[in-house]
């Protein structure tokens, strides 16, 4: 009986150590999350900062973002300037 008990103790100790090492190995070789800095620097380009211009005097004045310029405020293109900014 004592022999079986001792053998079980050794068995559990050995299995625990091997499970721990196996788990460590799996995690060490798993895929790493992409870092934000990597994403930005590798795949996106910063476009030139552009100075704001005062080209538009219309606008809804209520937070609505959709706007062609108001009548009499036509763009240089000869048709209404489309603007997008969300709503």
């Amino acid at each position: 009986m004592k022999i079986i008990k001792t053998a079980l103790h050794y068995w559990f100790a050995i299995v625990s150590v091997f499970s721990f090492l196996a788990g460590w190995g799996m995690l060490a070789h798993s895929l790493k999350p992409i870092q934000p800095t990597q994403v930005t620097s590798v795949n996106t380009a910063s476009l030139p900062a552009l100075p704001p211009i005062q080209a538009y005097n219309g606008g809804s004045g209520n937070g609505g973002g959709l706007n062609f310029s108001a009548p009499g405020n036509q763009s240089n293109y000869g048709f209404p300037m489309l603007r997008t900014g969300g709503s």
């Binding site: 994403v39 476009l47 030139p48 900062a49 552009l50 937070g63 209404p80 489309l82 900014g85 969300g86």
Partner: protein, 311 residues
């Protein structure tokens, strides 16, 4: 080019068309009627709308109109393509944040207090919605309620532009910054579209030159309100159930369809640079985007440069 402006769907709408004045006037009227009827169908602020009926039907199959069924089919597709960042089932979270009436009314009356008893994100996943294509039936699981605000607005703008195009040689419909462009103005090879400065909307940051198709912008700086002492906006992050905390102030998307431009603009804005890369990698052929950060710097993938027309 003739223009016609009015306010529906709680936003400013402008129609522009090129052609004979009599035909264009007819086109404006038909397009406006379509937008008005569609608002009645898709608005969550009207108890009589088809969307409100659908929300009340949660738990039992609902016979939908072809338009509602079609928009929900698109919504289901984009939910998967955006890895759940576009999620129409966040309505309970939107209500919890105080957006329980139209933005016009919310601005006039102020927001209801926060109900702490309601937990953020406590609702069934949108992936549990079932669509029966053969019978045109929709089954929302119990507890699900949908807000189709952005995708419906984009879909309506595009359909209205297609109606208007039957009366004109070139036209545009712009609904709250979601626009669909058909044909080209006389003597032009592209449409100029200005991107507003999200911090000073009366100014433009830059002008894009785009082909016929769609452009849409999402921003966290416009539909904003205060709930008690908390600053709120309308873009709920489905991962937290709270208004999104973002690296960007606005995202503009150029795509073939207005509904997809609107959906991807929202998803990229909520997801920020890291998620955007992932989504763009997965669906990159569908759209291009330009994002404006808190310092008004414009970001985007290399191919977006071709749209920028520097002043």
């Amino acid at each position: 080019m003739e223009t016609f402006r009015f306010r529906l769907m709680n936003t400013d709408i402008l129609l522009a068309a090129q052609g004979t004045p009599a035909r264009i006037a007819e086109g404006f009227e038909e397009a406006q009627q379509f937008i008005h009827a569609s608002e009645g169908r898709f608005s969550r602020f009207s108890g009589q709308s088809e969307l409100s009926e659908l929300n009340r039907s949660a738990g039992t199959p609902f016979q939908a109109s072809p338009d509602l069924f079609s928009v929900l089919g698109l919504a289901q597709r984009f939910f998967h393509q955006t890895r759940g960042l576009f999620d129409p089932s966040i309505l309970p979270d939107l209500l919890r944040a105080g957006y329980d009436r139209s933005m016009d009314l919310l601005r006039q009356q102020g927001a209801a207090p926060l109900f702490e008893s309601l937990l953020a994100g406590e609702h069934p996943s949108f992936s549990e919605m079932e669509l029966d294509e053969r019978r045109g039936m929709i089954l929302l699981p119990p507890g699900m309620a949908l807000d189709l605000g952005g995708i419906a607005k984009g879909w309506i703008a595009e359909q209205a532009a297609l109606i208007l195009s039957e009366f004109s040689s070139a036209c545009a419909v712009n609904a709250g910054g979601d626009m669909f462009l058909v044909g080209l103005p006389e003597g032009e090879d592209q449409w100029p579209v200005a991107i507003e400065d999200p911090l000073q909307p009366e100014n433009d940051l830059t002008t894009l030159r785009v082909d016929p198709g769609a452009v849409a912008t999402s921003t966290v700086t416009k539909r904003v309100w205060k709930q008690e002492e908390k600053q709120r906006h309308h873009l709920i992050d489905p991962r937290t159930g709270e208004p999104a905390v973002t690296d960007w102030l606005s995202v503009t998307v150029i795509a073939p369809h207005t509904y997809e431009a609107e959906v991807f603009a929202k998803a990229l804005l909520i997801g920020g640079p890291q998620e955007s890369e992932e989504i763009a990698r997965k669906c990159g052929t569908q759209f291009s985007y330009l994002a404006v950060d808190h310092d008004r710097k414009i970001w985007g993938p290399q191919k977006s440069l071709e749209y920028i027309n520097v002043h």
